[in-house]
Amino acid sequence: MNNNGAGSSSGSGDASPARRNSKRPKYSRFTQQELPACKPILTPQWVISVFTLVGIIFVPIGVAALLASNDVVEIIDRYDAVCVPQNMTNDKVGYIQNDAIDKTCTRRIKVPKDMNQPIYVYYQLDNFYQNHRRYVKSRNDGQLRDRSKENDTSGCDPEKTTSNGVPIVPCGLIAWSLFNDTYNFTRGNKALTVNTTDISWKSDRDHKFGDDVFPKNFQNGNLTGGKKLDPNKPLSQQEDLIVWMRTAALPTFRKLYGRIEVDLKENDTITVTLKNYYNTYSFSGKKKLVLSTTSWLGGKNNFLGIAYLTVGGLCFFLATTFTVVYLVKPR
């Protein structure tokens, strides 16, 4: 299987002292391409055994991944359409933009299976282009990090300054459009506390959002975007903002809202009292509330398991085909 690169060249280079001024090329194993080389030759046995091996490794991994994914309990509840009052269904945008209407909405969720803590609470938006070129760039990381750069709002167009020219902290479209629905959970009569700390990346809190940078002039413009921020809390503690500012790559995305640190039992009914503020109606996006447990592989995701199983299966199939071909009609 090892093919010595020397091949046809038999050591003509050694010996024979070169004449003076000879143009004879200098001898080295490199220039004569005589360095040993290794090159696998694909014999049938070799190919078959490699395929079998890959199959043997991949199929169990795939099975394990699928099982793990199936263990995850996930509750998804879409509420954007349901939370619009009957009389307003023809003018959802008017409903959401009308501050006079109370936006409170109550949903009941039944737990299908036991859920062990921590249970993660997500909100899922749909058709929301956080990846739009304009949107992604509309922020200033320096300003978020450093108090001394408070007035630096470059790149934040069109949410740089308020109408009278005072810089906004945090500036930019992303911060401006911060998600502002809120959820309250109760089981029976007892409220379930949702822990909203430690839901963002630690590195973001420590390095990207300053603990001495406070929101200023935020949402004071003529057009209000999303949530208003507490001007007395430094940005590094505004974790919902930090989560939001990690822009999603796809138009459908989930973001972590918080954690419920209590186990939920099968057939428990949870009442969610939510404030439906966020406007997804104008671009006909959906809003969903997601409760999910995790496994060692993360959230519910069958893809990885299926992919492993497919590759492993394919390898087995090829291995058997080759074996049959090799046995029936050897070359």
């Binding site: 024979s16 090329p25 391409q33 282009y129 070129r133 479209l173 104008s282 671009f283």
Partner: protein, 919 residues
Amino acid sequence: MAGGRRKKNFLRKLYSFSCGKASLDEDHSQIGGPGFSRIAFANDPDCFEATNLGYPANYVSTTKYSLATFFPKALFEQFRRVANIYFLVTGCLSFTPLAPYSAVSAILPLIIVIGVTMAKEAVEDWRRYQQDNEMNNRKVKVHRGDATFDDTEWKNLRVGDVVKVEKDNFFPADLLLLSSSYEDAICYVETMNLDGETNLKLKQSLEVTSNLQDDSNFRHFKAVVRCEDPNANLYTFVGSLEYQDQQYPLSPQQLLLRDSKLRNTDYVYGVVIFTGHDTKVMQNATNPPSKRSKIERKMDKIIYFLLFSLVLISTVGSIFFGIATDDDIENHRMKRWYLRPDDTTIFYKPSEAAVAALLHFLTAMMLYSYFIPISLYVSIEIVKVLQTIFINNDHEMYHEESDKPAHARTSNLNEELGQVDTILSDKTGTLTCNSMEFIKCSIAGTAYGLGVTEVEKAMARRKGSPLLYEPDVEEEGHRDNNKPAVKGFNFTDNRVMNGNWVNEPHADIIQKFFRLLAICHTAIPETDDESGKISYEAESPDEAAFVIAASELGFQFYQRTQTNISIHELDPLSGKTVERSYRLLNILEFNSTRKRMSVIVRDEEGKLLLLSKGADNVMFERLAKDGRKFEDKTKEHMHNYADAGLRTLVLAYRELDEDEYAVFNEKFTEAKNSVSADRDEKVEEAADSIERDLILLGATAVEDKLQNGVPECIDKLAQAGIKIWVLTGDKMETAINIGFACSLLRQGMKQIIITLESPEIKLLEKDGNKDAIFKASKESVIHQITEGRKMTSSSDSQSFALIIDGKSLAYALEDNVKNLFLQLAVTCASVICCRSSPKQKALVTRLVKEGTGKVTLGIGDGANDVGMLQEADIGIGISGVEGMQAVMSSDVAIAQFRFLERLLLVHGHWCYRRIASMV
């Protein structure tokens, strides 16, 4: 004696003066007119008129760029690549707010890529500059007035300078020869750098200036040269010399070209006529056509495809972007409010969605620029350079004797070597080593010479009949005991060697035969002072072989002057060596149309002799009725020789009477001195008139030695499925025999021979009706080709060999026949084209290249192969004996044919695989 000779010379030349003047009149209108306007004031380059003409100095620059033009020109070269243009546009755009990323990241790779390639260019150009510099600063002696000659640099020469060039030096510019160290003002010139011919050429000055043999003569020398404008034709020159109020015509015979070398002559004086870039060499310098490998062309196509898909993606993307942007505000309501479409720039304005989409298109083009693999070019370039180093350093392709390693001159064709489908090979110097050995002869109908040729051995092997050749094998054993063989001489026959020939029946004819060999040639003897040995510088290896043979057999040619040839010869009566000198009167030179050469000499008894040698077909028809005594026998022998793969020449002579010679000489000199266009024809006509009624002496046979390892190499290449075509100028029989010798043709191969040597055609040729010949020949060729097609298609188990001669080839290459010919040729395992001209070689190459669309490789060593090498996808030059012309125009140079095997099957294969896996 010397004085007498001189007088005689003058007489002869006086004659030519009158002729010269006559022809000058008709040419006079041309000189000074358009195209013939050059004037050089000899020895007076400073005079007013001369400075007014503004001819360039002798400074030569072959660099592509100068310091000032390097950047614009090199950049322009770079941006001829589509990918580079694209990246430049992207780079420029990235400075606008359109850019999706920072400008540096767009422009930096481009700068690196272009910088690297430009640096490579710059280094190459710098080397060229240094070469030029070395050239321009060579020293030459130039006349400074007052008969003093000073050293000066080449670059300082001006038109009109008188220079003195010494032995073994190059001429600094195109010079008009005035005089030389020889009394008769001849000099020998080696033109290897010009045409690759290693033989010496004779140049002679005008008689009027030939006495300017000393520095002091030039104190008051004044002359005006009027001549043609600079042009690239090496072999023509029209001009006149005005000297002492007389006009003298000038011919190429007086012109010494730059880059040729003075040999065998102590010094010459000359006037500079063309300087610098006006010289014929520089006018001739053309860049070889740049060849690109298939993989590179393929890559270009891929790049175009990628560019297209890039545009497609961008277009689709921007259309959707436009639609989405347009939708953002509907009825004054923002849809995607989080993008603030109410307060936006032009790039996202819903009201101007079309413009926004267009701008988005540009952005997308930049964004997806990773589609175009810019670094691929650089990586490929680097890999190729490495491969070139491997090829250059391969010990297996280093030739010990000539001290020549392989040399890949261009790096971009390495991988093509692995894909060669057809090899078109020259024979002489490529398959054979172009060293001739005199091996057999037939004198007066008796065959002499017992040597065995390579071809005979191959034939013996083929026929499996060793019996026939047993005596020869014995003879070979004998030879080993003999004295060390002389190069170019492999003749063994005790009947004629060591002076034994005097006892043979036709001793007088044998004497004449060898005498002819010793006289009828243009070789120049060079005596080694220490050993007293004589070596010969000859125009072709055949001639050298003849002269050596003659000297080995007792007719030693030892001295040549302009008018005399001196020979030590064996006197059959006394048995002693006597010195004889023959006065050389005329040389009727060899050329490919005449296929013969003759000399006219006067021997010591005052008899005029015409000695002639030439190819069999032209010679036999020129024999006198009573000179055909041995014709049949000789023909038979020659046939045998040709069968044995030998080159044959027929030798014949004739005695002339004085009157006849006088008439001829007049006619001949007149023809020689005419300057008109039909000069060659006239000369030929004159020569033709005297070369008749010859008496046959015999025939010679020389063997063309095969190079080492050629048959094995061809075998291996054939095994690798590579077709080999041999294109040669040789006779059909010789070509076929060489084909057998180098295992190109094998026993059991069916030979399809296409030739026009059929009796019907010959009959037509006698009639001389050109149209009829043309028509009949063409029909015959087409007929033969279709016959061949039938044969090949009817049986597929047999392998075929196609042999076609030059005449038929001319018809076969015509537009409507060539496809038919090609179809036949590709079904044959090997193809041999005999008697083909350089042009035909190139045409065949093009036919194969374009007809089959496969990679062709041309291999050859001589100037006649240049066309073929440049036409083929890959040209390989053999850096052998025939000079550097082929090497200069080749892509890879190797020393021996057998290295081709390794080059193709090892390096080519590896290069292709590696490049392919890299891409």
